[in-house]
């Protein structure tokens, strides 16, 4: 680990000013990804500003039924929150599908959004990676790319975003609240993470020094019947090959409302807009679930080792919608 200065933030504005003023400064949350990257040499900050003791640890109701989740709320506390469990079960389930009990006790809401890809080439400083070292090349493109993207990738980067929580937030139309030097801004979570394009080094639209202070969930009745399903190599404590977050409201055999997002398929949580459009107002049938999945996956471009993700994503979505419609979840 390269040497760095450590400061504990006492208020958000000073923390933003401090990090904004120094190009090689970072915020520290739970540290479960950043400290690992510092040890691996993937991150080499000169200044670490610890924001874990800022007053961002509450889960609060807002007027109109929305919920405000503080940036510092630990993943375990968010998953266990009674309101989240009853009104947004997909979010609790996604959180509980990620990492381990010990890590969820450390990891924060903001840090979960900002965690970086687990692409093995990104985490290995001895090989080329455009995300870690722009212009050096992508080792995954013709390497072991079983875990990589099938949607929205570029020749520069085929990494996938690792978060489960963010997939649920994408399905729920959450909003990320950010504090910068010039004040606060609100970013829909579906616009928060980027596709790699020609700048895979940027995972998100955040500017240097901007600090996430909260995430807001809209009042969303359809979310009461929602669930998260994760397919992985072992039953627990593994990243997703494919995951699906979905909420479904069926009335008189027709889809009244539906929200779908995929994980494990792209550089960002993949909100399945086409699948939703296919389903909305349509009969809630197995055939339509399959058509919806196919509509979303029509642009999938598999790499050498990950073509299995296309049928896996289709089957997982079909199964989850079937279970939600039957009230089995």
């Amino acid at each position: 680990m390269t040497p760095f200065d450590y400061e504990r933030a006492t208020d958000a504005s000073s923390a933003v000013a401090r990090v904004s003023a120094q190009p090689n400064a970072v915020f520290l949350g739970g540290g479960t990804n950043l400290v690992d990257h510092m040890r691996l040499g993937v991150a080499r900050p000169e200044l670490v500003v610890d924001v874990t003791r800022l007053p961002f640890s509450a889960i609060e109701p807002l007027p109109g039924g929305a919920i405000r989740i503080g940036a510092g709320v630990r993943n375990s506390d968010l998953a266990a929150d009674r309101t989240i469990r009853s009104r947004y079960p997909v979010l609790s389930q996604a959180l509980l599908a990620g990492a381990s009990g010990q890590l969820r006790n450390l990891a924060t809401t903001a840090g979960n959004l900002l965690q970086r890809t687990r692409c093995a080439y990104f985490q290995d400083v001895t090989v080329a990676c455009n995300k870690r070292e722009p212009g050096s090349g992508c080792s995954a493109l013709d390497g072991h790319n079983r875990d990589h993207a099938i949607l929205g990738a570029s020749q520069q980067c085929v990494a996938v975003h690792p978060s489960d929580m963010a997939v649920a937030l994408a399905a729920l139309d959450a909003t990320v609240i950010v504090l910068g030097r010039h004040g606060e801004r609100r970013i829909p979570v579906t616009d928060f993470h980027r596709l790699p394009g020609n700048a895979p080094e940027s995972d998100t639209v955040l500017e240097h020094g901007e600090l996430i202070t909260a995430v807001e969930l809209p009042a969303l009745p359809v979310a009461e019947r929602s669930a998260y399903y994760k397919v992985r190599d072992r039953a627990s404590y593994a990243f997703a090959l494919v995951s699906v977050a979905a909420a479904l409201h069926v009335s008189h055999g027709r889809v009244e409302d539906v929200r779908i997002a995929f994980g494990g398929l792209a550089h960002k949580p993949w909100r399945a807009v086409r699948a939703e459009a296919t389903l909305r107002g349509a009969p809630a049938t197995e055939e339509n679930y399959r058509r919806a999945a196919e509509a979303e996956l029509v642009d999938a471009r598999p790499l050498k080792h990950n073509a299995f993700k296309i049928p896996m994503a289709r089957n997982t979505l079909q199964m989850l919608l079937r279970q939600l419609a039957a009230g089995a979840r």
Partner: protein, 173 residues
């Protein structure tokens, strides 16, 4: 950069000076000589370094010690009371829940923290309807303990030990 922090470790107040790069795990082992927390992978993937920090189970290899200033740490060495092993420790002995023993202090701290979480009603990924019924099934124990790897493969007896400890520590089963 050097910095000063204090930690309460297994009931003792400890002050130490360390480099900001020091992880909590290295502070415990190398600076304070508390070796109950084991270094396995050093990447948060194995759980051998698990302790209870301010009452919650955490890995210590991914926390900077300086960020933990003022924390109360209980390692597996600090769980016994007046010469009597903690019920989870005793259950690990009774059920032969180890082979080489390297992962055991982390397993035990994780189990103690996990049972507290379950008592507070926290669901897991396998909890039906996110509503925890009384007691934990073996499936629940496995899921909740999945952050602790055992290369010897003593999992069957670890699950039995945790099940036994759950009964003896007042969890309605």
């Amino acid at each position: 950069m050097k910095t000063s922090i204090t930690l309460r470790v297994d009931g003792e107040q400890r002050s130490l000076q360390l480099d900001t790069r020091t992880t909590l795990l290295d502070a415990l082992r190398e600076h304070l000589g508390v070796t109950a927390a084991k270094k396995g992978c050093d990447h948060g993937q194995c759980g051998a370094c698990t302790v209870l920090m301010d009452g919650r189970r955490v890995t210590t290899c991914l926390s900077l010690a300086v960020a933990c200033d003022g924390a109360t740490i209980i390692t597996a060495e600090g769980l016994a009371r007046d010469g009597t092993l903690h019920p989870v420790q005793q259950a690990f002995l009774d059920h032969d829940a180890l082979q080489c023993g390297y992962c055991t202090p982390g397993q035990i701290c994780s189990a103690v923290g996990m049972l507290e979480e379950a008592r507070a009603g926290h669901p897991s990924f396998v909890t039906k309807g996110l509503a925890l019924a009384a007691g934990l099934s073996d499936e629940e124990i496995r899921e909740r303990m999945s952050g602790n790897l055992c290369r010897c493969g003593a999992y069957v007896n670890i699950v039995a030990a945790v099940r036994d400890a759950m009964g003896k520590t007042g969890f309605p089963s």
